[in-house]
Amino acid sequence: MAVTSLIGARIQRREDPKLITGHGNFIDDVNLVNMAHMSIVRSPHAHARIRSIDTSAARAAQGVVAVLAAGDFKPHIHAPLPVTNAFVADKKQVPDQFAIAEDEVIYAGEPVAVVVAEDRYLADDAAQLVVVDYEPLPAVMDLEKAMAPDSPLVKSDRSDNIGWDAAFPAGDIDAAFAEAEVVVKQRIGQQRLFPTPMETRGCVADYVPYDNRVTLWTSTQVPHFVRLFVGGALGVPESQFRVISHDVGGGFGSKIRPYLEEYLTTATSKIVERPVKWIEDRTESLLATTHGRGQIFDVEVAARRDGTLLGLKFTQLLDIGAYHGVFSAFQVVACLIGGGAYEWKAINARSIGIFTNRTSTDPYRGAGRPEATHMVERMVDLVALEIGMDPAELRRKNFVKSFPHTNNFGLVYDSGDYPKTLDRAMANIDYTALRKRQADLRAQGRYLGIGFSTYVEICGLGPSAATAPAAGVALVESSMVRVHPTGSVTVSVGTHAHGQSHETTFAQIVADTLGVPYDSVEIHHGDTGDTPFGYGTYGSRSLAVGGMAIMASCHKVVEKATKLAAHAFEASEEDIVVDQGRYFVRGNPGEAKSIAELAFASYGAGLPAGMEQGLEAVSYFDPPNFVWPFGCHICAVEVDPETGGVSIDRYVAVDDCGNVINPMVVDGQLHGGIAQGISQALFEEVLYDEETGQMLTGTMVDYLIPTMAEMPHFELDRTVTPSPTNELGVKGIGEAGTIASSIAVINAITDALTPFGIKHVEMPARPDRLWSMIKEARA
């Protein structure tokens, strides 16, 4: 790589001036002539049979264009919602989900009818007039009860409530446990979460009847995926189906699937022969957008008294919800990386996916990896507590130390230096002094705790050879780089940012690699009409996979430009030197051609024999491996034993995501990611009534998203261990903060409460729960 000035530069996001001055173009900003508005009537019951739907009053209401139910959609939607075929399981049940319920609703929020009216107010008013006669059925809510052979069924046509049951044995687990001097066991919960992007979902569909052509604007992380499946189900070929996703106000994984509303809105536009808009309101979003987590881990660790970890056994119970999410089974990845940053003789994991009468779960920031990290980092602390060893030392003793490292399941950790981030974080927080302060405060009856999280993350999804079996799709990525005749550059990519600053960071890469001004590079994404097919943005993949696809196209452009320069200078290609966009004959830098001059020449006459006009390239990149960011987060909290209140005293993070394209963007990702993990640890939980299946946290008053006021100052630092997996040496950072942080907080709280004999705390660490635990411990 050339000596660069932009890769690694802390430059401001080019997205911001537009967004912060209100010139963003979000889904509700899309307005078409003659557009009708759609409201969805959703089931208030978690489980019920539909006896009848009476739409007569709604049809007669002011401004109503149409009222539609399942029977109206069946002639237009020819396929169920997609479910990727992830992981080979011993047992698997993948029931079809049609976009709208016909005779049985199986979660509160499932669509039963659609009302189309001249505006959204009228549509909502008429939706209230749709009368649905339900016969309530028992709601299946508890994971373990749902597994019992005599459990009521989530849906009456299923054989049982098991979605998958997959075993992942690695090594001789019995031998590892036979060797144990210490065995610790713990059940660890992962409560359900709302992904809560700032912008809820929504779409505008415009079906043009005469040539069977669709334009679908939607708020998504995966425009090409949406086109593939929605177009397929509606019988509209990709060439006739354009998906446009402009600015997307966050997704956190909840927008990585084609959603039933995209099917319904498009089909409705076809039926009413008008453009149709549907915007998800917030309370609707809490029911209708996929949830995250919703898991229970039963874990056992075998160790020696000197702190050597031996064996890890665990079962992941995962609440699938009513239907499979498109990628729900991907979260089984927690089994394959449950060993974390440590050496184990053997690991035996099992994942059971269980249907319940709740909204579906699907990946949410981290997707399986926060759960795995939370589990292993909790267990390591329990071992340390059991044998009386400092948790930092136990970690250090068991760290994987040589790289590349093949873990128990054959995954290859590409690079790392785990003791380095641990040492740096301990120095930054002044660990020795903090432990002394903890002892001093305890003497005063105050409870300070210190929690570690030394995580390793698998991301950059991913090599097709691994993701095809694990995620059900070969997650490659694409780019097209086109140098225009006067030297400006258009880059079109298959990824799609929803807050990741790709327009800035990708332009930094291209400007440096081609040697063109940063301002001359334009990034296009989100429109299937002018971007090559790609799998979208999630799994911290856009840089490590998508960025490399851009690099590949840039290299092809440079290669052609070199040929053009050689031709212009009547020199051989081997003698052409490329230096930051200047092409010259070795030894004669004074007489150089810029890439703009070569681009101009490329569109003209007199090219080398056999060369076509133009200066552009299309590339697809399939990485040879995942990438493996890592780091150490240390949190210090104080717990008020009288109120159970937790205040975060310090939060220190040292992350290593390899080479950094833009430090400010990386810091931003960490701020948001850490905040979301802290939020899971202390605040957020989706609660349902366990009997009726009604959601109890159905508004933002009851579902606690913390604000800046609840967050500590993040003390960030990083080490740089370039990834050997890709030429840029980059890893991923979009999920790392979330993966690391929940357990740093929980380990700190548990450490604070150790004097009470409390060994484990579940999330969220609500004040009333902590107080109850302290009270019981004192009794």
Partner: protein, 270 residues
């Protein structure tokens, strides 16, 4: 998140407001800042047939001292309370409460009259009105706060009655207010207000029963010379919390006792 249809009128006087309420009937509601009503309407939990918007009535925006009484107009907003020099001198505990109501948007729109008329146990000012024996002035009568709060979100107001002002006794003694929240902008999980009044203490409880509550048992214990801890131990008979998604009733009772001690200690240290 879109309200059901409703009529809307913006009267210029209290009399006009009353006649509009009479005209629209029982299902009409008065709206001021709308910070409680609008969210309920957006969830369609409240579907009034008409809104009588009193925000244009200038006479309801005054703060007046009247010897030992401070009268606050119904349309005085939280932000006005925060910035009012007279209130800072005559009723500083109200200013302290206002500082911690909601967020900037809520404080810029929400009014004291709205809090009183909504009668929410979580509305901080309601507990203060109760503990200080405030008078609630309407277009029809004066209510004693002790007779005003009837049940959950239910007050003594009749459907054509408009709150015009609240009259508090000037209270310049030592005071403290503690609002235990999980997030800065939340309602109190439990709120405890204490105000020195002459030689005695007044105590009020926010969001710890179906209505705001006065800490009568705690006040009596304090009057008889009990320590803060012993007095706080009486708080259980002053409140009646229920379990909800935020916390168990048992925890709220315990928390109230802890906060009562702390609030009394904080006030005494002022």
């Amino acid at each position: 998140m879109i309200t059901a249809p409703f009529e809307y009128a913006r009267p210029g006087s209290v009399d006009e407001a009353q006649s509009l309420l009479t005209k629209f009937g029982d299902d009409a509601k008065v709206i001021a800042g709308g910070q409680s009503l609008i969210p309920l309407m957006r969830l369609r939990l409240s579907q009034p047939t008409a809104l009588v918007d009193i925000q244009g009535i200038g006479e309801l925006k005054q703060v007046r001292r009247d010897n030992g009484t401070i009268e606050i107009g119904a349309l005085v907003r939280h932000v006005d309370i925060q910035r009012n020099a007279v209130l800072r001198e005559t009723l500083p505990i109200l200013v302290e409460m206002a500082n911690d109501v909601g967020d900037n948007q809520v404080r810029n729109l929400g009014t004291i009259g709205g809090v009183i008329a909504h009668g929410d146990a979580a509305g901080d000012y309601n507990a203060l009105a109760l503990m200080l024996d405030a008078e609630i002035v309407t277009n029809k009568r004066r209510h004693q706060a002790r007779d005003f709060y009837r049940d959950i979100l239910t007050t003594a107001l009749e459907h054509d009655e408009v709150v015009t002002a609240v009259r508090f006794p000037v209270s310049t003694g030592r005071f403290a207010y503690t609002k235990f929240r999980r997030r800065l902008y939340d309602w109190a999980l439990a709120g405890v207000a204490v105000q020195e009044s002459g030689s005695s203490w007044r105590v009020g409880y926010v969001n710890l029963a179906r209505t705001p509550r006065r800490g009568s048992a705690v006040e009596a214990a304090l009057a008889s010379g009990a320590s803060a801890a012993d007095a706080a131990a009486q708080s259980g008979s002053d409140i009646d919390p229920t379990s909800d998604v935020r916390a168990t009733a048992e925890y709220k009772r315990h928390l109230t006792e802890v906060l009562t001690v702390r609030t009394l200690q904080k006030a005494a240290a002022v």
